[in-house]
Symmetry: C2
Subunit: 128 residues, 2 copies
């Protein structure tokens, strides 16, 4: 079936959820939101663009830090309101906190424990 | 750091997003939403409970189909508004459409292509 963006169920803010996953390791890196403009740019360029809720605009992922993401595969869910993008992470850090994944903490016996190593220092990359 | 549910950023509907991932293969199975009640029940029982937006209530995942999910690991993201749960999928199907994953379609040269095999027929399991 030919795909077009009207088949997706955009939410009341005009966004769909996207799970970003390392195409080699399968690690889940980030959950983010794409506007129609962000998804169009992503599919056209093969680089991830996201709608940053905190900034209210579309940005290329890694625009500031250099940690861009190249899209390898796009999956669509049953409800057509969520995507999985399997990506190649340039620079090794998907998270603005400098970690490989945004999911760098896990629950261990009631504690929240950081289990990943930082790839960069966010203060150096983004300023204070 | 000791974890409690007040550290999570619940959205304006009182939900957090949860990415469910097969703990063995790393396949992303579902993106769903948990209320505080659903997350509490999940952490207490080790079985996944989700808030179903379509029904407006908390249900054990697999309550009708038998395809329950046992929680193996819980990750928390940088913004504390999204979780990854690595789970063991009983019955082999996470999707109410009868597929192993809700992400059973992918984009291939502008087409949306089903690439997974159905594990069960939803008409038989849920009725028409």
């Amino acid at each position: 079936m030919a795909f077009d963006l009207d088949q997706l169920k955009w939410d009341d803010k005009g966004l769909v959820s996207v799970v970003f996953q390392d195409y080699r390791t399968g690690e889940v890196l980030t959950l983010a939101y794409m506007s129609r403009e962000a998804l169009e740019k992503t599919l056209e360029t093969g680089k991830v663009y996201v709608f940053r809720r905190s900034r209210g605009r579309v940005m290329m992922k890694g625009e500031t830090s250099g940690n861009v993401q190249n899209v390898k595969e796009v999956l669509v869910d049953c409800d057509a309101d969520a995507l999985v993008m399997k990506i190649e992470q340039v620079g090794g850090a998907a998270c603005h906190e400098g970690y490989p994944s945004c999911f760098y903490r896990r629950l261990e016996n009631g504690d929240l424990v950081v289990f990943e190593e930082r790839v960069f220092d966010p203060k150096e990359v983004y300023g204070k």
